[in-house]
Every structure is written in structure tokens, then in C-alpha cells.
């Protein structure tokens, strides 16, 4: 074959694969934009596989985005369902009448991770006390600074500790997702506020430990919202209803067990 016919063959093959793997017309596609943690950790993929097995006519396209961005995408009509963990933004979203249905579906928690020795000195302190001490010592702290639910919780703790860390020498802002932020904290032996499941998955490679703070104020509730005005409103509503139902809770429980061996995202 000449080079031109090769090219044609490759293009034709590519086209065929594209068509075959594309959405079939009798499937309804629901775009679910969820916190990056849920997507990166794989929990949502398992739960959505479970749902798709029940509803072969529905296809869930799962996209990860920081909570603020997820809600903005919903507002712009690019998301049918959101699953986020930023209560104050969610309240605003709901109060503006943009939610068809909103339900708290599961909850995990945040931990402060840090280098072994320094973490030991913070054991049992409240988050506010621990952050105050880190600022006082000027110990390196890595922040996502990306408008995520995690970042929001971190900012609230700094506020309550009466510290504004922005621009401080010891405060590194990655403006990125949890995975990379955790890597940077690990490699610089810094403290980082991290959602428990992400920490557990990466625990061995990061070498950071859980500072074991008092749990108050570190809860991490996730809320699913079926976005009003979605072109696939019925399917979106059905999915959110299912997430909150007995069967949905069981699916979340199973996904937890398979991924973490315990209930990290408690349904």
C-alpha cells in the first residue's frame, strides 16, 4: 500500500471506532459533575456503573471539577447533576431556585496530614489550634487554593484561627487538585488538609501521617443536586433520588468496601 492508502485506512479505522464507541441514540446521557475527590478516587465510577446496570437506557458521564466550578457549570447549563461539598455555595445555589432536588448523599471527613515528627505534636488538638500553631512556627503548609470544597474548609479554619496565610513564605498555593497538592506536600514535608480517602490511597507513597486532630469541624458532607432546567430533567432527578434511596446507599456502601475496605464516604 502507498502512504496515501495507509492514511485512508487509518482514518477510516479511526472513524469506525469513533462511531462504534459513541453514544447509541436510545441512551440518554446525563452529565454528572462531581468533586474531584469522588472522581479521582473512583468511588463515583463504581456507583455510576451500578446505576447504569439498573438503567441501561441511561448513560452517566462523570466529570471531576472543584465544587465552585461544578456549580458554575450547572448554572451555565453544562451539568445535569452535581455532587459537591461546599455547603455555603450549595445553599446559595438552592436558594436561587436552581435545584430541582438536593439531597445529602454521603459524608467523609478531612484530616491534617504532615511529616511524622511535627504531626505528633499536634495530636488531639482542634483544627483551629493546630493551624494556629503551624502559622506560629511558620511550618510549610501546602494549599490547593483552587475554590474546591476542601480549600473552602481550609480557609474557614484559617479564619477561625485568626490567620491570613496568603502570601506567607511558608504557605504554598498549588491552585490544583488534591492529588498533585498532596504530592507537593509530601515532597516538601509540609502540612496539608486532605480528604481522608485521598490520603489513604496515597499514604504509602507520600510518607505523610495523619496528625489525628479532634474531628470537630472536619466533617465533609456531599450533596447531590438535580439541576433545574436540565434537558434530561427526569433522568437527572431519578439518579439523585436513587442516590438517597436504600438501594443507592447500598451501592455507595459496596463501593466504599471495595475501594477502601471500610466506610470512608458514609452513606
Amino acid at each position: 500500500m502507498g502512504s496515501r492508502s495507509w492514511l485512508t485506512a487509518v482514518l477510516a479505522a479511526g472513524l469506525a471506532v469513533g462511531v462504534l464507541t459513541g453514544c447509541s441514540p436510545d441512551e440518554t446521557r446525563v452529565t454528572v459533575v462531581a468533586g474531584t475527590t469522588l472522581v479521582d478516587g473512583g468511588l463515583l465510577q463504581r456507583v455510576s456503573d451500578d446505576y447504569e446496570a439498573r438503567r441501561p437506557d441511561v448513560r452517566l458521564s462523570v466529570v471531576g471539577a472543584p465544587s465552585a466550578r461544578a456549580l458554575a457549570l450547572a448554572e451555565a447549563g453544562s451539568a445535569d447533576v452535581t455532587i459537591t461539598h461546599d455547603p455555603s455555595l450549595e445553599e446559595i445555589f438552592i436558594s436561587e431556585g436552581r435545584a430541582e432536588l438536593a439531597a445529602e448523599v454521603f459524608s467523609s471527613r478531612f484530616i491534617l496530614a504532615g511529616p511524622r515528627r511535627e504531626s505528633g505534636e499536634l495530636r488531639g488538638l482542634s483544627a483551629v489550634e493546630a493551624f494556629g500553631r503551624i502559622a506560629g512556627q511558620g511550618h510549610l503548609f501546602v494549599s490547593r487554593a483552587d475554590g474546591s470544597g476542601t480549600h473552602q474548609v481550609e480557609r474557614e479554619i484559617w479564619d477561625r484561627a485568626g490567620v491570613d496565610p496568603t502570601g506567607m513564605q511558608w504557605y504554598v498555593e498549588t491552585r490544583q487538585g488534591m492529588g498533585l497538592t498532596l504530592q507537593v506536600a509530601s515532597q516538601r514535608e509540609a502540612f496539608v488538609l486532605v480528604e481522608l480517602s485521598v490520603f489513604l490511597i496515597a499514604e504509602e507513597t507520600t510518607g505523610l501521617v495523619d496528625a489525628a486532630l479532634a474531628p470537630a469541624g472536619l466533617e465533609n458532607p456531599y450533596r447531590a443536586i438535580a439541576v433545574r432546567g436540565s434537558p434530561v430533567a427526569d433522568e437527572s432527578l431519578a439518579f439523585v433520588e436513587w442516590l438517597g434511596s436504600e438501594s443507592g446507599r447500598e451501592a455507595v456502601g459496596r463501593a466504599n468496601l471495595e475501594l477502601y475496605g471500610g466506610q470512608i464516604f458514609e452513606p
Binding site: 471539577a65 458554575a72 483552587d146 498549588t174 504530592q183 515532597q187
Partner: protein, 230 residues
């Protein structure tokens, strides 16, 4: 269409009020790309000349390495360096992970084979007659190489442009090994990735426009120096 106009208007606005945050990214992009192109060309030109002119053991292997290197997947180079520089990895003690230096090292790995390949090709492209003349000069090996490189200087200019083009547009390697940390290791390409991932399309397009200007500017400048275009 309205959507695209909005994005464009956003991009213009981002550029018009671009502050030190963007210029820092531009400066780092230029510094990392220039350093890695410079080192890559310094290593690649002699290597390319040796491959074109030399008769030595291991030449075949080296030639193959250059061919593979020219098409080496950048993100894989990034991954290998990430593993090497990881704190508990073999070179972790150097403390290079998530630093501009690590990004330059990754880019040199990508640029050197490109420079070597282009220079080697253009020396061989001089044809038989100049090669025979070169042989007749009875020069030492280094001097012969220098004369050949001088003859193929348009190829050297192309090598500079191609190397710079590869590194300035590259995203996978610098993202993985640099970490895309704000104010430390963020360059234009990784900025675009981040902005588009967060659906801040105006900012992404603005960064893209700056990147395009840099890439075109360097290409045109190098083309002038080399005496002719593609």
C-alpha cells in the same frame, strides 16, 4: 457563536489587565524553554555532526537512540524523571522535584535528539560533493565537524527552531515533573491545561495567544538568522 465571542472578549479582558501573575508565568516559560533549547542544541549539534560524519563503534545504536528520542513521548520523560527525583527515589537527595531545574532537565531530554536529528540530516543533505571536498581538506575530526556545521548552518537554525518549538509547546513532561505550582513551576502550557480544566476559557485563550506569539516570534527570528525559511 455567542459563546465563542464571550470567550474571546474574556480573553481580551484578561490580557488587558494582565498582572505580575501572568508575566511571571511568561518569564518562566521563556527561561525554561531558552535554557533547555540552549543546552539541547549545544549537546545535539555535535552529536548530529558526529552521526553524519563519524565512523565509530556504537554509531548505529546512537542513531537509533536519536530516532527514538525525536519521537519520545514527553509525558513518559516526565514520569521517569518524577520517579528518579521523588524524595525516596534514586536521585531524591538532589531535591530537584517540582523545581524549574527538573523541568529544564526534562526538556533537554526532549530537545537534544531533535537538534541532533535535524543537524545530522542537514549535513548529510549537503550531498556527496561537499562531503568529498570536506574529506580532501585533511582536517582533524573536530575541525571537519566545525566546517560541516558551518556549511549546514541553515540546518542548525532549523534545529534551534525545532527544539524550541518542541519544548515551548510541551505540556506533559513539565506538568508531571514540575507540578504546575503557582508562582514556582507554572508555565504557559500548564496554565492553559489548568484554566481549561476549570472552564476559565477566557484566561486559557489569553495564555494561548501569548504562547502562540512566543512560538511564532522565535520561529521567525531564527528563520531570519538562518537565512531562509522552511
Amino acid at each position: 457563536m455567542e459563546f465563542l465571542w464571550e470567550v474571546l472578549a474574556d480573553a481580551v479582558e484578561v490580557l488587558s489587565r494582565a498582572g505580575p501573575e501572568l508575566w511571571m508565568v511568561v518569564a518562566l516559560t521563556l527561561a525554561v524553554s531558552a535554557a533547555s533549547t540552549g543546552i539541547g542544541v549545544l549537546l545535539g549539534v555535535p552529536l548530529g555532526a558526529a552521526l553524519a560524519l563519524g565512523r565509530f563503534r556504537g554509531r548505529g545504536v546512537l542513531r537509533l537512540a536519536v530516532s527514538v528520542g525525536m519521537g519520545f513521548p514527553p509525558v513518559l520523560a516526565g514520569l521517569l524523571l518524577l520517579l528518579a527525583f521523588w524524595r525516596s527515589g534514586p536521585l531524591g537527595g538532589l531535591g530537584l522535584i517540582f523545581t524549574p531545574t527538573a523541568m529544564v532537565i526534562a526538556q533537554v531530554i526532549l530537545a537534544t535528539p531533535v537538534a541532533a536529528g535535524v543537524v545530522s540530516g542537514s549535513i548529510r543533505g549537503l550531498g556527496m560533493v561537499p562531503m568529498e571536498q570536506l574529506a580532501a581538506l585533511r582536517l582533524g575530526r573536530v575541525a571537519r565537524g566545525l566546517v560541516a556545521v558551518r556549511e549546514a548552518r541553515a540546518g542548525v537554525a532549523t534545529a534551534v527552531a525545532a527544539s524550541f518549538g518542541r519544548v515551548v509547546a510541551e505540556v506533559g513532561a513539565v506538568l508531571v515533573v514540575g507540578g504546575n505550582i503557582l508562582g514556582e513551576t507554572r508555565v504557559l502550557t500548564t496554565l492553559i491545561v489548568e484554566e481549561s480544566r476549570q472552564a476559565r476559557f477566557g484566561a486559557a485563550v489569553a495564555a494561548g495567544a501569548v504562547l502562540l506569539v512566543i512560538a511564532l516570534g522565535v520561529n521567525i527570528a531564527v528563520g531570519r538568522l538562518g537565512g531562509d525559511g522552511p
